[in-house]
């Protein structure tokens, strides 16, 4: 396994973990309660 696989493999794992963890929480209050929301 070369540096290419280590670098981008880790990036992929971190991205998936962020999605699996952060994706479960609602967005910040400033995001949810803003006025210019899409109707």
């Amino acid at each position: 396994m070369g540096p290419n696989e280590i670098l981008f493999g880790r990036l992929a794992i971190i991205g998936v973990l962020i999605f699996l963890f952060v994706g479960r929480f609602l967005a910040s209050k400033s995001q949810r309660d803003r006025k210019e929301k899409i109707r």
């Binding site: 880790r10 967005a27 210019e36």
Partner: protein, 259 residues
């Protein structure tokens, strides 16, 4: 007002799976019991399931390609995935109540396509696939953080811009596809010159920003208490954008490597 009219025509999101009518018939969810409502956790879990299914079928095609070393050995599976995936994507868009069945099938079929295309690119440019996977999921993670923290706010103007750009790209690809039948094509789309790379960068950016619209759409659906089957539909829509983003990143990297 003009923006609103345009959005009504073009749809709420750039993602074709998230058309304007996707939720309009389900806008009143107040009567839904709590247990039957869509949740963020449920959507994340289902997206995870779709990703695993997609990777599994992609692995089958990938392995077959590198065992035989012959692109012809995977062409049947690639076409099966392409046609089956397209049919299932349209079925899911028009019959979203079926998403619990059609979305996993779509992921399996799409995996056949991604596995085949990835293997062909990897054989030509070794190491390119892990780069594309890393950049795709890296983009997903960064944009999710940017969205959740409120750093990127999807407003109506933002949505109009992304929807218009996505539509423009779709039309350009369609014209290029049709021109292909007559032995011609739109040169800069496939060129590895500065203009071709600039075009690919633009498409990658638009595909990535579609993720923000998907996040907003899913969160809005959860807040409105959309029915449970919409978790599958939300996961399917994210998959559509991720597949597009991955293919565009792969193409951009290939252009850069071929210079």
């Amino acid at each position: 007002m003009q923006n609103r009219n345009a959005l009504a025509i073009l749809g709420r999101s750039g993602n074709p799976a998230f058309r304007g009518k996707s939720f309009s018939t389900d806008t009143v969810f107040a009567d839904n019991p709590l247990k039957e409502r869509m949740t963020l956790s449920g959507t994340v879990n289902k997206t995870g399931i779709l990703l695993i299914l997609c990777l599994t079928s992609a692995w089958i095609v990938w392995s077959r390609f590198f065992e035989t070393g012959n692109p012809a050995s995977i062409m049947g599976l690639l076409w099966l995935g392409l046609i089956g995936g397209l049919a299932l994507a349209f079925t899911t868009m028009f019959k979203r109540r079926w998403a619990s069945i059609t979305a996993p099938l779509y992921a399996l079929f799409q995996g056949l396509v991604l596995g085949g295309i990835s293997a062909i690119f990897e054989a030509r440019y070794p190491g390119i696939v892990i780069q594309a996977i890393g950049l795709t999921f890296g983009t997903l993670g960064v944009l999710l953080l940017a969205y959740k923290s409120g750093w990127i706010k999807p407003t109506e103007n933002f949505r109009l811009m992304i929807v218009s750009a996505t539509g423009g790209i779709a039309i350009l690809y369609l014209i290029s596809f049709v021109m292909g039948f007559f032995g011609s094509s739109i040169g800069f789309i496939h060129s590895n010159g500065l203009f071709g790379i600039g075009f690919s960068l633009f498409v990658v950016a638009i595909a990535a920003l579609n993720l923000v619209l998907d996040f907003d759409f899913i969160e809005t659906a959860v807040e409105q208490g959309a029915p449970k089957y919409m978790e599958w539909f939300g996961a399917f829509s994210l998959m559509v954008t991720l597949v597009w983003l991955y293919l565009e990143i792969l193409r951009l990297l290939a252009k850069l490597r071929s210079r």
